[in-house]
């Protein structure tokens, strides 16, 4: 019988029913000689895991001020906007995700406090408005500038900060590549962009947007003919 499962100590994290359901998978298998009947039990295990996901309630910021949290929300809406397929990163809870991790990590919190302050200062200098109060055109103009700064900084780091002339003799022959004027903002932008993207694609909204269908439970694995035909037709093997 299912001795493997019986011997394991009970799960201490208070997931009532979960262990029993997994046990049921094994018992069903033993009872039926490994035929199809086990699937339903296996699916329960997964269904239960999914239903245990927290319902999205109102999140209260732990680290960010109300203004900072609002700016993160605006950034989330611009970085991963809603379109005709799915909602935005704001809908997916990006500001809450960022705020939570910042509340647990001083280094990260400093990056965000400083970066958000830099962003508003730069917006004020350019447009005399804070980021959230600016027009969409002004907001995207700033983000475009930060994308450009990020790419330029990446290229600068990739090569080398110094360029050597071919007839190198002494140090006067070195020229130092200058950092992009928005280099500091670019670093912050990379953080807010990657964490916003992570928050979106790991959320139920993002998972649905991409169409990830795995982590299921089946008695048999099958590849749909429709998908195979589609790829074959478009391949050199058609």
């Amino acid at each position: 019988m299912s001795n493997l499962l019986n011997i394991a100590p009970a799960s201490p994290d208070g997931r009532p029913g979960r262990r029993e359901l997994i046990k049921a998978v094994a018992f069903a298998v033993v009872a039926t000689g490994g035929l199809v009947e086990d699937v339903e039990a296996a699916q329960h295990v997964h269904a239960e895991a999914v239903s245990a996901q927290k319902a999205t309630g109102i999140y209260t910021a732990k680290e960010m001020s109300a203004a900072e949290f609002k700016t993160l929300g605006k950034l989330a809406e611009l970085i991963v906007p809603a379109d005709d397929v799915s909602g935005s990163a704001l809908d997916a809870g990006a500001p809450a995700f960022i705020d939570l991790l910042c509340s647990q990590n001083k280094q990260l919190a400093t990056t965000y406090h400083g970066g958000l302050a830099w962003l508003d200062a730069e917006m004020n200098r350019k447009f005399s408005k804070s980021f959230v109060n600016a027009t969409v055109e002004q907001q995207t103009a700033m983000l475009d500038l930060l994308v450009e700064a990020d790419k330029s900084e990446r290229a600068r780091m990739d090569e080398s900060a110094v360029v050597k002339k071919s007839d190198f003799r002494d140090f006067s022959d070195y020229t130092f590549k200058q950092p992009h004027p928005q280099a500091a903002g670019a670093k912050f932008f990379d953080w807010v962009r990657k964490m916003t993207v992570d928050a979106f694609y790991t959320s139920p909204i993002g998972i649905k947007d991409l169409g990830f269908m795995g982590n299921g439970a089946y008695s048999k694995y099958e590849v749909p003919k429709q998908s195979l035909d589609y790829a074959m037709k478009r391949s050199p093997f058609a």
Partner: protein, 571 residues
């Protein structure tokens, strides 16, 4: 220091380490009615606590980035939050050192089951020619055993742990006792077509996952999360499949958090126990046994032997040859990925399958070495499909596409349209790759640590370049475009960082006599009849086949031999 005997009990066999070798030994010996003490340097495993098999990122507020976003700072779990690694490249308080000019990374799991809780589960038999490499090309050494010696144990191991596969009749990939494999995924079918054109065999993968029920284990339910540990034990782990059932016999006592310092000898050419540190109390304790089996992983077993010095064995236990620690090998790794337009826009489906690729390519040119600029060979592992989105999955795409609707559309369109190839090749053992005791450093338990030295030779570098050319041909043959290095971090610079494929073997090699080897063909020490090493340490060569199945088989064979020898009174 004070050494506290655990009890008056003398076990039939003491097994050190609970991975593939130690788990198999514990099960086989208890099935013969022998009393076993099993020592593991980590804690007991609770699959229902440790295995995050059915979770999604959104089940956690940190989404898998871990507390404070640790994964963004390179401080998260080695293969991501959801993996069941229970260890890492560095363990706090248990350092190792690396010689000047060398690179080596040592992955250790500290938990009952060891690395088998999360490993890739590729289960390939060595071929007949893999046991006689020196005879074939004059490099390295021949094994003292042949394929015929191990073949019955491959049968037993496959039947017991359960391996999927198909009968193919390919000499480099001997057939075995297989469960029915799942069908190929779409990208794999395209890869197979491309390989067909190149004359490269592309066959059902062989992984230690069951597709029919055996020994009370449920068949695979295709959630695809084997690397997180399998709660239904459909994927093999020594903890769930061998050790937990063995515990039910009442014949094994598990000592967890037991860090073995040395094996004790009786002054008459035999060992009679082990000395270990109880990590909970830091006390030194002794367990007595009639025989000792080391299965602590190749390098850790070498470390224990080298640290077991006595008047009788001044260079370390069973080390009259001076070969303990020598001929350390890893697998040659190189990865490349490609973008395949034919897959773009395909109707999505569940590509997880049984948790790894459903096809693989065994080595094909074993008779054409006169046309190649490197010896031996490699197999190819495949990646691709609609993987579970996680933290970090789209950082690269975001940097490429900027932000906004355009980025979102590009990520959506490219999702699942890339394929990856990982070459896993044979390294030739060399004198510059070895491990030894670092006389200047001890770990937090006061045990002298290992120092690693490692060099890839031209053989390995040329093989990696052959992989690169081959993968490029396969990608282009399916209408794809090479994207760049796969697993860039671990395989940067054109060849994997030594140790990072986690196939480190050798260091306690077997051979025909006590002069040229440490162990005989049964993995029994030449110099100490009641001492065995059943992890990857005994390997004489490191064929491109992933080592675990061979460790299972050699351990089983060693235990059959040991019990017979004990019955006859020879041990």
């Amino acid at each position: 220091m004070a050494q506290i005997p655990n009890s008056q009990e003398v076990y039939d066999v003491i097994v050190v380490g609970s991975g593939a070798g130690g788990g198999t030994a514990t099960r086989v010996l208890t099935s013969k009615g022998m009393k076993v003490a099993l020592l593991e340097a980590g804690p007991m495993l609770d699959p229902f606590k440790e295995f995050l098999e059915h979770k999604m990122p959104a089940d956690y507020d940190h989404r898998g980035a871990e507390e404070g976003g640790a994964s963004y700072f390179g401080k998260g779990k080695p293969f991501g939050f959801f993996s069941t690694t229970s260890g890492g490249w560095q363990l706090e308080g248990e350092p190792y050192t690396v010689g000047e000019g060398s690179k080596f990374e040592w992955f250790r799991s500290r938990i009952v089951g060891g690395r088998t809780n999360h490993y890739g589960r590729m289960s390939f038999r060595f071929s007949d020619f893999d046991f006689k490499p020196y005879t074939r090309d004059g490099l390295g050494f021949d094994w003292p055993i042949s394929y015929e010696d191990i073949s019955p144990y491959y049968d037993k191991a496959e039947e017991f742990i359960g391996v999927c596969g198909s009968i193919e009749g390919i000499r480099s990939a001997p057939d075995g006792k297989f469960h029915t494999p799942p069908p190929p995924k779409v990208h794999e079918t395209l890869i197979k077509k491309s390989c067909d054109k190149l004359g490269i065999p592309c066959i059902p993968n062989r992984r230690a996952v069951i597709t029919k029920s055996i020994n009370g284990r449920a068949p695979c339910h295709y959630c695809g999360q084997c690397g997180r540990g399998c709660q239904t034990a459909s994927a093999y782990s020594s903890s769930q499949v061998e050790i937990f059932p063995a515990m039910k016999t009442g014949l094994v006592k598990v000592f967890d958090n037991a860090m073995v310092r040395e094996v004790l000898s009786n002054g008459n050419g035999k060992v009679n126990g082990v000395l270990y540190v109880d990590k909970r109390t830091r006390e030194h304790r002794v367990i007595r046994g009639k025989a000792v089996i080391l299965a602590a992983s190749a390098c850790e077993s070498a470390r224990i032997l080298l640290n077991s010095k006595s008047k009788e064995f001044p260079n370390g236990l069973a080390n009259g040859s001076g070969l303990v620690g020598r001929y350390l090998m890893d697998t040659v790794g190189f990865g490349l990925s490609g973008y395949v337009p034919a897959l773009e826009g395909m109707p999505h489906y569940d590509t997880e399958g049984y948790g790894g690729a459903h096809l693989y390519m065994p080595w094909w040119d074993w008779e054409k070495h006169n046309k190649l600029d490197f010896p031996r060979g490699y197999h190819i592992e495949i990646g691709g499909g609609y993987g579970m989105p996680g933290v970090g999955s789209y950082h690269g795409a975001a940097r490429t596409y900027g932000y906004g609707k355009d980025m979102k559309q590009n990520i959506r369109q490219r999702y699942g349209a890339a394929v990856g190839f990982s070459g896993r090749g044979e390294m030739i053992p060399n004198a510059l790759s070895y491990t030894e005791i670092d006389p200047t450093v001890v770990d937090q338990w006061g045990i002298p640590v290992l120092k690693f030295h490692f060099k890839w030779s031209d053989h390995e570098w040329r093989q990696a370049r052959h992989m690169e050319r081959t993968f490029t041909q396969i990608i282009e043959g399916m209408g794809g475009k090479v994207l760049g290095l796969n697993n860039a971090q671990r395989e940067s610079g054109g060849i994997s960082v030594p140790g990072t494929i986690i196939h480190e073997v050798g260091t306690v090699k077997m051979g025909l006599n006590a002069k040229n080897s440490v162990l005989n063909g049964f993995t029994q020490a030449h110099e100490v009849k009641n001492l065995f090493v059943v992890d990857g340490g005994s390997f004489v060569s490191n064929p491109d086949k992933n080592p675990t199945l061979t460790i299972n088989a050699l351990s089983w064979r060693a235990c059959d031999y040991l019990s017979e020898e004990m019955r006859k009174g020879n041990v």
